[in-house]
Amino acid sequence: NNSSQLSSLPLQILLYVNVIYYIFYFLATLAMIIYKSQVFSYPDDFLAPDLAVLFVMAVLEVPRSYLGFKGNLTEAEAVLGLSLGLTVGSVVLCVYLLLWQTYVLWADVLLNAVLLSAYGLESGLKVTAIAAFVS
């Protein structure tokens, strides 16, 4: 790292990768929910919360990623902190989809585990970046 530049390069790379992976994750999970609703008995009372959580997570992802990019590039710790907060929300929703979904398939476990680890790594890098910006 150049001494004059505090923005974290690994964080930037991870943010890009996360965005691409999230698009794949969203489409795959949606396809699997559709598959489950056809193959298994999936009453509407149980289908609605699962779909709602997935869509809320998608909606949350957009500001989360944008704020992450912006915060890292402008070296603004408040913005990055906000992104970190949104990441916590996404983590909670991801844990719901991993543990409390109506049907958790093995593929669900894999996708969610990868997403959780990506979020975890991202949060760690953000904390480091915030520490670098503040000091």
Binding site: M32, F40, S41, T102, Y103, L105, W106
Partner: protein
């Protein structure tokens, strides 16, 4: 999984070739040839589950049964890792009622029926909001007749023969039901279903006003079954206990509802049969009937609405004197198209006049045998045979539709009468008389209306009498000739022509000076 055994059908006995049967001993296993149930597993879509594997080791002497409990793994990536929905993979065991959840279970399952979707469909009619007055103005066929509090009840047997008071009467659905009610003479004045008030106290909702149910007549039935019609000034009679009998108990109700042709109810009347219940009787049988009549018409049983229904009698009638004055209507009371009904004696002259109604769509043939002796005179014989064949009142008109009203004269088809004479001898100058030997009624009908719901309509009716000459017999001899009558229904409907709309054409016209200034 190790305790489940699908082939263990006999209790405390060993089932043949059933390796998982706990009642089988080692000696029984030595007699088996294979295992009919080799594997018992749970749902195979789970990622990992226990499986009980049964196999027979035929190498050993004697053959042994080998039982293994293994973990079966589903290698697919779409196997179910976990579920949070209990009913997904097993049947839900029903809740055991406890004092805490009893009320909630009673609400859900206490009625005669309950739906599979919880809390999404409330069958309790009392909880429904009473409908607005303008919604009840017009009834359609089958819609329950609404009263102030709920529906007009017609108690009927549901599942068993016991009366259920929750059966609503449907509009224009003529019903007659019989059911059993349990009674006790001591409490007979407190049992609601035995009192007249229960059946007439609610008024029917119809258009903007309510129609009260009036008491049309009361018939009192004594204990031995004799019925007396009371004069109408009696008023309400409520059940009461008298000398170990309960009198004035309702044994039957007959509702008559009058409606307009647009479906509004204008009148309702109930005819009661009251009786006495003796002390020993624990149950009584009640009978209920409801019939709907359109105003200003006579209640005539319809043979179809509008087209004839196969199996219902063909309606017929006469034109009264003075037709074609517009005030004269066809009368169709008590007249049907009938043909001779064959009897076991087969003797035409001894026929008691039994006739069978002509049912639409059913070709019929019947007959009898006539014994002619030398002493018989021809002319009276011909007249008698004509009566036998045609009956006492052979109608002149037949209804074109099953629901033709008597006042719509154009809906009635005249019966064409033909005479065919069968000449055995090619012409005699003698005054040999002709006697009718057969009557053939040919009914031509067509399909009328829409392609998907064609209605049967009678177009033409021809009654053909075939006569033959009666040869004079030498005295002492007698002849037997068969007399027949038949009805044939012929379908003369032309093939249906479905009509399709013309494809739309594109009409483009360029304006006159489109190519200005080149033209």
């Amino acid at each position: 999984v190790s305790r489940l055994c699908v082939c263990d059908l006999l209790v405390a006995q060993c089932d043949a070739n059933c390796c998982c049967d706990p009642d089988c001993s080692a000696q029984d296993f030595s007699l088996f040839t294979t295992c009919s149930v080799p594997v018992v597993t749970g749902d195979s879509q789970l990622c990992s589950q226990k499986a009980a594997v049964y196999s027979l080791d035929v190498e050993a002497n004697p053959p042994e049964m080998i039982f293994k409990l293994i973990d079966q793994v589903n290698p697919s990536i779409f196997c179910i890792h976990a579920t949070n929905y209990k009913e997904a993979l097993y049947l839900k065991s029903p809740e055991i009622p406890t004092p805490e959840n009893f009320d909630q279970l009673l609400d859900k399952f206490g009625g005669a029926t309950f739906s599979a979707e919880p809390d999404s469909w409330n069958l309790d009619t009392d909880a429904q909001n009473p409908p607005e007055a303008n919604e009840t103005s017009r009834y359609e066929y089958g819609v329950p007749v609404q009263t102030e509090d709920a529906f007009l009840r017609l108690p009927s047997p549901v599942v068993s023969s016991w009366c259920s008071d929750a059966n609503p009467a449907g509009f224009l659905v003529n019903q007659a039901t019989k059911c059993i009610r349990s009674v006790s003479v001591e409490k007979c004045d407190s049992i609601q279903a035995l009192s007249m008030l229960f059946y007439i106290n609610s008024s029917i909702l119809a258009s903007v006003f309510q129609v009260n149910i009036t008491v049309q007549s009361i018939i009192v039935q004594s204990l031995d079954g004799m019925r007396t019609l009371l004069s109408s000034s009696e008023g309400l009679r409520l059940p009461m206990v008298l000398d170990e009998l309960c009198i004035n108990a309702v044994l039957g109700v007959n509702y008559h509802i009058t409606h307009t042709d647009t479906g509004e109810i204008i009148e309702a009347a109930a005819a009661f049969v009251l009786g006495a219940i003796s002390k020993e009787a624990l149950t009584i049988e009640q009978s209920f009937e409801i019939s709907f009549t359109q105003e200003n018409t006579q209640p005539v049983p319809l043979s179809g609405n509008p087209g004839y229904v196969v199996g219902l009698p063909v309606r017929a009638g006469f034109q009264p004197q003075g037709y074609p004055f517009p005030a004269a209507f066809l009368s169709n009371k008590h007249s049907q198209l009938t043909i001779l009904q064959s009897t076991s004696t087969q003797d035409c002259l001894a026929a008691q006049g039994a006739r069978a109604p002509v049912l639409f769509g059913y070709n019929m043939i019947s007959g009898c045998r006539l014994r002619i002796t030398a002493a018989m005179k021809c002319q009276p014989l011909a007249q008698t045979l004509l009566d036998v064949l045609k009956g006492q009142s052979f109608p002149e008109y037949v209804a074109s539709f099953g629901n033709s009203q008597a006042q719509d004269v154009l809906d009635w088809v005249p019966i064409t009468q033909l005479h065919i004479s069968e000449q055995m001898i090619p012409h005699t100058l003698q005054s040999s008389c002709q006697i009718p030997v057969s009557l053939g009624i040919e009914v031509k009908w067509t399909k009328y209306g829409s392609l998907v719901n064609p209605q049967a309509r009678i177009v033409n009716v021809t009654a053909t009498i075939t006569t033959t000459t009666l040869k004079q017999l030498p005295s002492g001899r007698e002849r037997i000739i068969p007399i027949t009558s038949s009805v044939v229904f012929t379908d003369i409907s032309s093939p249906a022509e479905p009509s399709y709309k013309v494809w739309p054409t594109i009409n483009i016209k360029l304006p006159f000076d489109f190519f200005y200034p080149f033209v």
